[in-house]
């Protein structure tokens, strides 16, 4: 395939400039160069049209100078200067030929169709093009088409426009949405599909998804349900298309066996004809995966994937199943947290919305058997629930150390919410233990000081009953011994 003459010309010019300038950051240099070129060319083009259109134009963006009195601390200079800005706006029109405007004669594409869906207007400023170009920090592009129209009265420094990222796509954005899902209320209404796998297969699958951030934060149960839900999909032949760029996507795939090529057509979808798939950008073998965006919502596929060997095997997972597994688990866990919280006498006066706020902010941590969760004498700043597993309470003052055993739903360290006294006991994981926890600072930010909450409306406080000696809690008594509250009796503070 021969390259277009115009392209060769451009590349030659660039090569000459590079050998002259010997830049350190080659990529940045190229980006700047092409931006300059683009701007020059568009300006030329516009200049040939502008004499007529500009004069007939009414500037629709004039600022109102008679409004919006200066109640603001004078930042950034004076009030809005309508007339001056109006003139600048029109100049800006000329210097910013690639910016979307409202005047059709200036529109460089992307308008007039469905916003955001037309390929032509998008990514005009993307220096790399192509998928996977990845994030870049804002660049300092000389001669960027986004030079600020501003003078001294604007927000930024005089050269504010210079740090505008040239690879940001400025088009209108459309919203996205998954199917609306509501958690089932009774436990047995929905159970996730299970497609049997060998433990080898499970391990391979786990490894394949482990570095994918959509899976990274799943807990053990979600993780295993998700892996079990993956369904085998044989691709028997070479040259079979698994997904097609531009089509809507519902599945995520992991490669078990075989090889696949990934193609991207810069038009945004596969086109008819022999080169319709576009450019081959990469290939994927066993352990690789693709199509993850489909697990979030229904969006057009960003690439075409085609098999390059025979006898391939994929594992597939659909969005609704994935999202339902996550939701049902989270939902159950949240209700469990709220139930746990209800058991804590210290927090008995919380109303439902407050409990759900706390449940919302709880974090989890897992300890292996034998690990120390909190240590006697250490400063305490979190309270904990046991979500899974068994732990033991030990105290140095106790002969033999052992005090008692804690199970799912038991909590400890809640007095850390009240005071900064050191931990009065050590808690050791006896099995693998999963705890949910919240720090004192977080609690106070959400609901204010615990002392205030206790004082609120607990009638028992007035009757000399110890609210910390409730059924589920144990270490009230332990922590409290050292706290400023006497024998566990909260004091009006």
């Amino acid at each position: 395939m021969s390259l277009p003459a115009l392209y060769l010309e451009e590349i030659d010019a660039l090569s000459r400039k590079i050998s002259q300038a010997q830049p350190i950051d080659i990529l940045q240099f190229c980006a700047n160069h092409f931006h300059g070129r683009l701007e020059a060319e568009r300006n030329q083009h516009l200049a040939s049209q502008s004499s007529t259109s500009l004069s007939s134009m009414v500037n629709p963006f004039a600022m109102a100078s008679d409004t919006f009195p200066g109640t603001f601390g004078g930042f950034g200079g004076g009030p809005f200067d309508g007339s001056r800005d109006a003139i600048r706006e029109e100049e800006e029109e000329l210097h910013s030929p690639t910016a979307p405007t409202f005047k059709p004669q200036f529109s460089m594409g992307g308008m007039g169709g469905r916003p955001g869906s037309s390929g032509s207007g998008r990514r005009t400023h993307s220096p790399s093009g192509g998928g996977g170009g990845g994030p870049r920090r804002p660049m300092h592009v000389a001669g960027s088409p986004f030079l600020s129209p501003s003078g001294g009265s604007h927000l930024g420094p005089p050269s504010a426009g210079q740090d505008f990222p040239s690879n940001y796509n400025r088009n209108r954005r459309t919203s996205v949405s998954a199917e609306s899902l509501v958690p089932t209320t009774s436990d047995d209404e929905w159970s996730p599909p299970i497609h049997p796998k060998t433990s080898d297969q499970m391990n391979r699958l786990r490894a394949a998804v482990s570095n994918n951030f959509l899976f990274a934060h799943l807990d053990e149960e979600q993780d295993s349900q998700v892996l079990h839900a993956l369904v085998e999909k044989p691709i028997p032949n070479k040259g079979m298309r698994v997904i097609t760029q531009g089509d809507v996507g519902d599945y995520f795939y992991v490669v078990e066996k075989g090889d696949f090529d990934i193609y991207v057509n810069s038009a945004g979808r596969m086109m008819p004809g022999p080169d319709g798939m576009g450019k081959r950008v990469t290939s994927i073998g066993p352990g690789g995966s693709f199509g993850e965006l489909a697990l979030m919502y229904n969006a057009p596929r960003a690439a075409t994937v085609i098999s390059t060997s025979s006898d391939n095997i994929l594992w597939a997972l659909d969005r609704v199943t994935f999202r339902r597994i996550l939701m049902e688990n989270t939902f159950k866990r949240r209700r469990m947290y709220e139930a746990f919280l209800e058991e804590i006498p210290l927090l008995s006066s919380l109303i439902t919305s407050e409990r759900s706020k706390i449940a919302d902010a709880l974090d989890t941590e897992t300890f292996e058997a034998g690990a120390i969760i909190i240590r006697e004498g250490d400063p305490g700043d979190r309270f904990y629930f046991i979500e899974q597993g068994v732990a033991e309470v030990h105290k140095s003052s106790q002969p033999g150390g052992y005090v008692r055993t804690l199970n799912k739903g038991d909590y400890f360290g809640e007095l850390a919410l009240l005071n900064d006294a050191p931990r009065a006991a050590t808690i050791v994981a006896k099995s693998k233990v999963k705890v949910a926890y919240l720090g004192k600072a977080g609690f106070q930010r959400l609901l204010g000081p615990v002392a205030d909450i206790m004082r609120r409306n607990d009638p028992r406080l007035g009757e000399g009953v110890d609210p910390l000696a409730g059924p589920g809690g144990f270490d009230g008594s332990i922590d409290v011994m050292q706290g400023p509250f006497g024998m566990g009796r909260p004091v009006e503070v």
Binding site: V58, N59, P60, F61, A62, M63, D66, T67, F68, T71, F72, G73, F75, G76, F80, E92, A99, F102, P104, M111, G112, G113, R114, S126, G134, P135, R137, P138, P149, S150, L155, G156, F164, P165, Y168, R173, T174, S175, V176, S177, E179, S180, L181, V182, P183, H217, E292, A302, L326, M327, T330, F331, R334, S353, K357, D360, A361, G439, G442, L446
Partner: protein, 367 residues
């Protein structure tokens, strides 16, 4: 700060437009284009509407500028949102559409939310008749200006904060804050549109992933269950985008954006005033126990942030003054602030065959 000023925001009456601003109103200002909206009862069927122009297009909807047929001068204008039933069903958005209508009804007459006048359906579409915001989307002003000055950004952020406080007080999460959904009215105030993802959640969490990629919060991306706190996150993104011209998290691909959001690391240019930087950082906080707006003081804490220094919340809410950018309308139906859209050919997917109607139409019974 006056707390009672905000309590008031919860049931804000619409001040009659002509009672405002006697002194700084320009006579020829087309503010009364919308003010006359109650001169005659609004139309109740699409046959009663003259479709003037498409104002906007969504995935399964079109928004039209319409005027009632048989209308005398002065002309009343409305925005008519038409949603195609087939697409609503196909994209499993039935619930969202129901929410949109019922929440708009709940918010009737809030000054910064487009008022719903009527809703109806015909065989293949649902319709929502709305107050028309002639200034177009904030999006257009922002992209043209590239950046807003601090006072401009502060003004819009403040009005939107009042909207969020109002919605949250009613147990409503909005879930799609972005410049494209913020309209500017004739006097330069904001009008929030597109309640397609709004939902009454009360104090509970909800699970459906929805929003706009750059504005999604980490808990939505990670499917952890989300609540009203997502709107405060989005406000942080919006403030950043207003003052810098681009959002804090962007990448070439949606997945690239989501990775950055989940990382929640934001870079700020050094010249950015510390108040702006601080409010963005506090709103765009991943830890829900530390996110501004989600803590004990709720929205009040947002209002008290030094970013809003100088804002008189009561005055703001009474719309005493005009906004910083006023659309210059040359005649009542002037749509220069809207992009031009070609009316779309109905795609095959959008047709609503009898079989589909028989199976699904009951879903729209209450619309």
């Amino acid at each position: 700060m006056e707390i009672h000023g905000l309590a008031h925001a919860a049931q804000l009456p619409t001040p009659p437009p002509d009672a405002l601003d006697d002194e700084d109103m320009i006579i020829s200002e087309p503010a009364d284009v919308v003010a006359v909206a109650n001169a005659e009862p609004p139309p109740k069927a699409v046959e009663d509407c003259h479709k003037v122009k498409i104002l906007g297009m969504g995935t399964f909807s079109e928004v039209w500028l319409v005027s009632p047929k048989r209308e005398q001068k002065p002309e009343t204008l409305y925005a008519l949102k038409q949603l195609r039933k087939a697409d609503v069903i196909r994209l499993k958005q039935v619930e969202h559409v129901q929410n949109e209508k019922s929440i708009l009804e709940l918010c009737r007459h809030h000054p910064f939310i487009t008022t719903i006048f009527e809703s109806w359906q015909d065989r293949s579409s649902l319709y929502i008749l709305l107050e028309y915001a002639p200034g177009g989307e904030m999006f257009g002003y922002l992209r043209r200006a590239q950046r807003f000055d601090y006072p401009v950004a502060q003004f819009y952020a403040a009005e939107l904060t009042l909207v969020l406080v109002f919605l949250h007080n009613h147990g409503v999460v909005y879930r799609d804050l972005k410049p494209e959904n913020i309209m500017i009215d004739a006097r330069g105030h904001v009008k929030l549109v597109d309640f397609g993802f709004a939902k009454v959640v009360g104090d509970r969490e909800t699970y459906t992933l929805c929003g706009t990629p750059e504005y999604l919060s980490p808990e939505v991306i990670q499917s952890k269950g989300h609540s009203k706190a997502v709107d405060w996150w989005a406000l942080g993104v919006l403030i950043y985008e207003m003052v810098l011209g681009y959002p804090p998290f962007y990448a070439e691909s949606p997945m690239g954006i989501y990775k950055k959001i989940v990382d929640a690391r934001i870079t700020f240019p050094t010249w950015l005033p510390p108040n702006i930087r601080d409010i963005v950082q506090r709103l765009c906080t991943k830890d829900l126990s530390a996110r501004l707006g989600n803590m004990k003081g709720g929205g009040f804490e947002v209002m008290q942030h030094p970013f809003f220094n100088g804002i008189d919340w009561r005055e703001l809410e009474s719309q005493k003054h005009k906004g910083p950018l006023i659309p210059q309308l040359r005649f009542p139906g002037d749509t220069q602030y809207f992009e031009n859209y070609e009316p779309q050919e109905l795609s095959a997917d959008s047709t609503y065959p009898d079989s589909m109607l028989a199976e699904h139409d009951h879903l729209f019974r209450n619309f």
